[in-house]
Amino acid sequence: MGINFLPDKPIYQQLIDLITGDIIRGTLEPGEKLPSVRDYAVEVGVNANTMQRVYKELEQMEITETKRGQGSFVTEDEVRIAMLRNEMKEQLVTSFIQNVEALGFTTSEMLQHLQERGGKDD
């Protein structure tokens, strides 16, 4: 039913990641209206309480705004979205470094490899 969730992380957090991912990617644009809590819950097949928590946390993170009687909207604050993008980048790099160090690779070795790869893909 719905999305395949990872086993080791609370579902509401995975939904926050999903929505913030859509915002960073631009699938959800600044100022765009989100579906109602219940519609979105039905769409992804999760409990409406879980979705309520997702919306509340997104609002607390100032990633969305709730307009009375109208629903939730993606923030139009480009600075906040840029921050979000940086936070996500930071998270990715941190977990990458952790994985790499756990296997005993050196940072310079990985950096060199990344540059070689980057050269190929760009």
Binding site: M1, G2, P10, I11, N47, N49
Partner: protein, 232 residues
């Protein structure tokens, strides 16, 4: 609020429930899991007032649960119970005559959401569509508690998905509580706020789904497997 305290229920000499204590707040979706014969159905029937405890107390908002008190509790049994010669529409009329909290408009809206035709005879429906009809008339009641015995069992993925969506769409998550027994934990987990695990008529665990993932770093299925390994 439903409060069960130190409930024991025996069938002959066999204890179906033993020393069971459980609170069910309003506004939660709760999964009831456990092996066959662990007491799930007995527990659901007891809360619906269909079975009386041998000892202990079962209270709804401060009153002892009886059939009369249970008018705000909608119980959906595992078995097919419909009069097969009814049409879906006749079944809705029948429910309206039986339950004061039944809302025929809502039931019809649910049948529409689930793509059921009101004129179909129950006996001509597929098993999947009978499952859909059952959930439609159950959720058609404006109950405080919905007790669902195996709502997904034996149904194909499309039907299970429809039923899950119906539950989210047609219950008020702030006010109404669903308690459902199930073996499909992996599939049902995203729907749940809490999980109650029964074993041999006793509750061996009762946790919030988010807490399980936060505390143990695993999903409900793996958590349950490890719970049973430790216990045995």
């Amino acid at each position: 609020m439903i409060e069960l305290r130190n409930i024991t229920k025996k069938y002959g000499r066999r204890k179906a429930l033993e020393g069971l204590t459980l609170s069910l707040p309003q506004g939660k979706i709760i999964g009831l899991v456990g092996e066959n014969g662990s007491g799930k159905t007995t527990l659901l029937k007891l809360i619906s007032g269909l079975v009386a405890p041998d000892s202990g107390s079962a209270m709804l908002n401060g009153s002892h649960i009886t059939r009369r008190v249970a008018t705000t509790i909608a119980y959906m049994p595992d078995a097919d119970l419909f009069y097969p010669y009814f049409t879906v529409n006749q079944l809705i009329e029948f429910y309206e005559s039986q339950f004061t909290d039944f809302n025929p408009m809502k039931a019809k809206e649910i049948t529409q959401f689930l793509n059921l035709s009101l004129d179909s005879k129950i006996k001509h429906l597929s098993k999947g569509n009978r499952g859909r009809v059952k959930i439609a008339v159950t959720l058609g009641r404006e109950a405080d508690y919905y007790l669902l015995d195996e709502p997904f069992s034996g149904l194909d993925p499309m039907v299970r998905d429809d039923i899950a969506k119906g539950m989210i769409r047609f219950t008020d998550s702030a006010r109404q509580t669903i308690l459902m027994s199930t073996h499909e934990i992996k599939e049902v987990e995203p729907l749940l706020d809490e999980i109650v695990v029964l074993r041999g008529g006793r509750i061996i665990a009762h946790e919030a789904v988010d807490e399980i993932r936060d505390t143990y770093g695993k999903d409900a299925t793996s958590w349950m497997v490890s719970l049973f390994r430790e216990g045995s």
